[in-house]
Symmetry: C2
Subunit: 216 residues, 2 copies
């Protein structure tokens, strides 16, 4: 007999995710789940996004990591509430972990929660967290062939951020090939080229996000 372990685990996750989604909607909080490899610039992108949107919205950040709290410390240093989840080895966030983090936030006074998932292009794609959007970040040094090798994350993402575009001259990155490979997998998701640590190109991404937060 073969037991499909995947199904019951996902069903339990999805039921909790549905609860979270109801809570977010009730409080008009928009939740974006950021997926990317280690080192693609998730935290820098969050810091740049906070910079762009903090005057209009009340923002909180939930940081998912295998270990450490270095990311949450960086966010808190900007005066933004941040909750660190240490997954203790797990390669993705699940809705039960997110619930524990959400429980310590005051949803009534928030407009936007940015969730930084564990650095991983594979595992987080299957798990609904009750978020409004999954957004992925690919950084230029990772290479333009990543849509071919990690198609799942490109398919589930509502938007694709291409980070570290300032380093394009250093790397042999074919932007046309990249964009066309993304289009084949996901015809709808906008692609936002940015250089988060330089603040370049962040306005377009931030205004896409702001439009959605206002409607939440």
């Amino acid at each position: 007999m073969k037991i499909d372990l995947h199904k019951p685990i996902l069903e339990k996750n999805d039921a909790l995710a549905a609860d979270l989604r109801r809570r977010f909607a009730e409080h008009h909080v928009y939740v974006v789940d950021l997926l990317a490899s280690p080192g693609s610039g998730k935290t820098s992108t969050i810091l740049a996004t906070i910079d762009a949107l903090r005057d209009e919205f009340n923002i909180a950040v939930i940081e998912g990591d295998i270990a450490s709290s270095v990311d949450a410390e960086k966010i808190k240093a900007q005066g933004i509430p941040a909750v660190q989840i240490n997954t203790g080895g797990a390669c993705h966030l699940e809705s039960a972990m997110l619930k524990r983090a959400v429980d310590v936030l005051d949803l009534a006074r928030l407009d936007l929660i940015i969730v930084e998932n564990v650095g991983n292009l594979v595992c987080p794609t299957d798990f609904d967290l009750g978020e409004n959007a999954k957004v992925m970040i690919l950084s230029v040094p990772e290479g333009d062939d990543k849509p071919l090798k990690y198609p799942g994350v490109f398919q589930v993402s509502d938007a694709v951020i291409l980070n570290k575009v300032d380093t394009m001259p250093v790397f042999d990155f074919d932007r046309d090939a990249f964009e066309s490979a993304v289009r084949d997998l996901n015809p709808k998701a906008p692609i936002f080229p940015i250089a988060a640590t330089k603040g370049q190109g962040v306005e377009e991404w931030a205004s896409w996000l702001a439009e959605r937060v206002r409607e939440a």
Copy 2:
């Protein structure tokens, strides 16, 4: 009742890994399992390693990817046998997958098998594949804080390759901080700084590996 699913899955994996380890030893084949994030330069490192060692050893490569065979094609273009494993979504290789790939190779005429695991700093660390060594690659653009955030992979690795060192001036990478964080987690593993696509620093890594292949 709580069922620990992790244990039986790992036990089955480890039994198959032990079989593989016996077969590798019997044929004096050294097997190195490369762990890294997407885009850290696993395939470029393999190509540079092949270049350095192909005169002395018979080499084969096993490529693990979620999807596509672009990496195996690059290896085959160099006249080296390459077997592609598509995990179909799984975030790491398991010994049952590796066995199917090993079965199509002629172990009697090989000295070295390089296994490129799925691009992921988390999941592959738990799975014994019967390999002689796990070696991890971190690339400079990923950042010097990765040992704090992904300690497991640094702990299980027998050597650490720091790739793309030619881009250090572009990124704010603190090499001393990185090396000291690696040392805290793993006092023994040598750290090899290389620039795989430029062929820089590959000799030291290749001679470390060659020494082990000769003794297999």
